[in-house]
Amino acid sequence: MADSITLKVNGVQHTVRAEPDTPLLYILRNDLKLKGAKFGCGQGLCGSCTVLIDGLNMMACDTPLWAAAGKAITTIEGLGTLAASHALQRAFIAEQAAQCGYCISGMIMTSAALLARNPDPGIADIKQALARNLCRCGTHTRIIRAVQRAARELRVRP
């Protein structure tokens, strides 16, 4: 039975009608038209669907709608836009830290959660934080540099 469920996404309340066990990812992408989080595996094993739920990086493909109800959800669209970008988004452009870019939204969201809890992460911290985000193109070196660059910027101008 489809239910009406209220979600707070990027600061805005939305009411959606769907089965409560619907993966949050499909609600974000198809109902709210937020295409930044991607479907990669549907099993919480690749990280391309990562969003923030109450500030924690979570995989939206295996988070059911009911579990996200009432919580503050942030997607990459809510992190920043081209006109008003987040330090991580600027850093990923500056370092050209993408090849195909399919994993990048998840990389940035996981990194956003990392920087919120550790403003000065070392390389080992960044690698550990991103351990569950897979990148097949091999952009790891640049992604690490981008996270370091964003961290530096945020420490100077939080």
Partner: protein
């Protein structure tokens, strides 16, 4: 009538200038390229080339790529040939367009051609008073002609946009989540489709309760056609649930595979083969100096593309017209295959390229396009998006083929290689859709093989050596051996579906050559780098070998401390494309891992140096992942690699920081960078392992279990 002029690259087959560029009323220029973005940055590189030759700001360029209505047919975006074929065509087309516009301006302004200059599309005399912009000239009329390639493009010395680190055009969308991928594309009234593949390649559907699926919430259509099953639903999660139900509602009769993952290499060597001498050089006198002979056998397993995003396509079928949005590497070739399967004229099939997840060769992109058409046919007029689930992707994508290589070489008393024999076994390395007519109806697409009236499999193919080769790519060693004989044994039977994967045969062939070179260096008591240089004449090869060694701080004769090792390897991709030499530093605790990778790269003229470095870094990391972790698993029953747990790839904690040093040669031809790391990296890792522990592992992947077995 004289023969038409030979035109460079893809211009030869797409000769009209207005096929390549058009000037728009808003002061922009649209550039049409048949080469597509697959994560390698080529569309940005094409924009740079066009802006450079036209003398317009990059911001005026609008790119359109891979479209059967709008763009030239440039074949597949593959084989590191895009800049060579498409870039050269673009360069000549734009240079000629600029010249035609200048000629016209010269007439109108009454200023001689050599007294005109162009700045951002404005043609002006030296007085800068008399001027005309490209957009004020009858550009459409001027470009309405065939190219002649008579106008020489700019010399490298005058380049300001080509050769610069221009930021990729696609990255801003990707870091802000703007819809950019085919997976993100949404058309009005769109439905969601999923497919239910058989449990193994040749399984036959014996029973299917379609009604059990039809009655599920949101299900709009269930399609069963022979062994093909698919369904369409209003919502994506409904389609996913219906797929699970359909899997339960289907019964199959399976046929066993002829071997499994542990037996595949013996299997390949025991089959009927088609043999071809790839390279032969003889010098009996030198051969007679042989003092010591070494032999070895190297293997590579099947490797998966394993893109992060499963394959996806959209299709809409309106009466007799089919329209498809796809991340295929070759929209025209896909169209030709689809038209054949659907019994339609190719002109009624319209194919648009939209970016997909990283593409490293022939993956599921083409297959899922046919899936989408078959499902869209069932919901007349409404567009259907089909994305494969993770297990569809792993079980059905065409893998990079398993290979076996046997080597034998002889050293003379002075430690020089005087004889070299190299035999390789593999399936062919391509089964892509092509536009080439075949006697009977064939298809490269999975669903076509599964229909009630099945279409035959396209026979396995292998690119000829003239185009860089497939299974035998890079099999002739580039070293200066007086005797060398290379034979390719193509295996006719194909236990698993295979096609082109980044590097094709070069991965296994260079792994074998460069591992064996180390074995020979050790036998000759020589330093691996010095041993290679001794037998290498090509100055550009020597330059990358020396630069990589220098940047990595390579010290001849340095001993391992038993906890780490360093290894070297080199190749020139396709023996005629980009050069890459790499030093790998390997750590052993807590598990075998690459600590550092230092590479030197020469791909001739660098259109976008940072883009090349990005591609080389990525190629190195991906090849590290192949080497240490990857192997498609299969039993006699079926493929058992189905998810990231059964097919782990390199993770962040396991990935080294990679250093790439570029030798830019602006006056040399630009060569692709996408595949140059595929061969050397696996060998450099095996060589580093030998340096660390004194064990030689000749079977990929180089796992902890294999090392333990070798040490025991």
């Amino acid at each position: 009538m004289s023969a038409p002029a030979k035109l460079p690259g893809s211009l030869a087959a797409n000769r009209r200038l207005d096929r390549w560029l058009r000037f728009n009323a808003d002061g922009s220029v649209t550039i049409y390229t048949g080469k597509v973005e697959i994560g390698q940055g080529v569309v940005t590189a094409m924009a740079q080339i066009a802006a450079e030759e036209l003398d317009v700001a990059l911001t005026r360029i609008r790119m359109v790529s891979g479209d059967t209505v709008l763009t030239p047919d440039e074949g597949h975006t593959s084989g590191s040939r895009s800049i060579d074929e498409g870039g050269s065509a673009m360069r000549y087309a734009c240079a000629e367009a600029r010249h035609l516009l200048l000629q016209e301006a010269s007439k109108r302004l009454d200023i001689p051609l050599d007294k005109l200059a162009v700045e951002d599309g404005v043609i002006a005399g030296l007085d800068r008073i008399r001027k005309l912009s490209y957009w004020e000239l009858p550009h459409a009329e001027l470009l309405n002609r065939e190219a002649t390639a008579a106008v020489k493009p700019k010399p490298a010395g005058r380049h300001t946009i080509v050769g610069s680190n221009i930021e990729r055009l696609d990255i801003p969308d990707k870091v802000t989540g703007a819809p950019r991928f085919v997976q993100d594309l949404e058309l009005p009234g769109m439905l969601f489709g999923r497919v239910v593949r058989p449990p193994s390649y040749d399984a036959q559907l014996t029973a299917f309760d379609a009604d059990a699926v039809r009655k599920l919430p949101g299900v709009v259509a269930v399609v069963r056609d022979g062994n093909f099953i698919g369904l369409v639903a209003e919502r994506e999660e409904q389609a996913v649930k219906a797929r699970l139900a359909a899997q339960r509602a289907a019964q199959w009769r399976e046929t066993p595979l002829p071997t499994d993952d542990s037996g595949i290499h013996d299997y390949l060597q025991s089959r009927q083969t088609k043999d071809q001498v790839i390279f032969e050089r003889t010098d009996a006198a030198a051969g007679a100096r042989a003092a010591r002979t070494l032999e070895a056998r190297y293997t590579k397993p099947y490797i998966a593309h394993a893109s992060i995003g499963p394959s996806c396509a959209l299709a809409r079928v309106d009466g007799t017209r089919v329209e498809i949005w796809t991340h295929s590497q070759g929209v025209y070739q896909l169209r030709y295959d689809l038209a054949g399967v659907l019994d339609m004229p190719p002109d009624s099939v319209i194919v648009h390229h939209v970016e997909g997840s990283g593409c490293y060769g022939h993956n599921g992109a083409d297959d899922v396009a046919l899936d989408a058409v078959l499902l869209a046919r069932a919901v007349a007029g409404r567009p259907v998006q089909v994305q494969w689930m993770r297990d569809d992707e792993f079980a059905w994508e065409p893998y990079g083929p398993a290979m076996v290589i046997k080597t034998r070489a002889a050293l003379d008393a002075h430690g020089a290689i005087v004889d070299w024999a190299f035999d390789l076994w593999s399936n062919g390395h391509t089964q892509r859709p092509t536009s080439v007519k075949t006697p009977g109806k064939v298809s490269s697409l999975i669903a076509a093989w599964h229909l009630e009236k099945p279409v035959a499999h396209r026979p396995q193919g292998d690119p000829p050596m003239a185009g860089g080769g497939g299974m035998a790519r890079n099999s002739p060693a580039m070293y200066d051996f007086p005797n060398q004989r290379v034979i390719a044994h193509r295996v006719e039977e194909m236990p698993l579906r295979v096609s082109a994967l980044r590097g094709l045969g070069a991965t296994a062939n260079v792994f074998a050559i460069e591992s064996f070179m180390d074995e020979l260096a050790a036998a000759a008591g020589a330093d691996p780098v010095e041993f290679r240089l001794r037998q290498m004449k090509d100055p550009r090869a020597r330059a990358v070998i020396e630069l990589a060694a220098k940047k990595a701080g390579w010290k001849a004769g340095a001993e391992s401390d038993g906890t780490s090792g360093r290894g070297f390897a080199f190749s020139q991709y396709k023996n005629g494309y980009g050069y890459l030499a790499v030093v790998i530093e390997l750590g052993l605790e807590p598990d075998i891992h690459v600590k550092r990778a230092v590479a030197a790269v020469d791909v001739g003229q660098a259109i976008n140096p940072d883009g090349i470095i990005n591609q080389a870094e990525g190629g190195i990391i991906q090849a590290i992942s192949w080497t240490l972790k990857e192997q498609v698993r299969f039993s006699r029953e079926r493929i058992t690699t189905l998810d990231w747990e059964t097919y782990p790839i390199l993770t962040f904690p396991e990935a080294p920081l990679v250093e790439v040093h570029l030798i830019n040669r602006p006056d040399e031809a630009p060569l692709g960078a996408g595949e140059i790391a595929a061969g050397p990296v696996p060998a450099a890792i095996a060589n580093a392992l030998y340096h660390a522990l004194g064990v030689r592992i000749r079977d990929l992947p180089l796992t902890r279990e294999r090392i333990a077995a070798a040490l025991a």
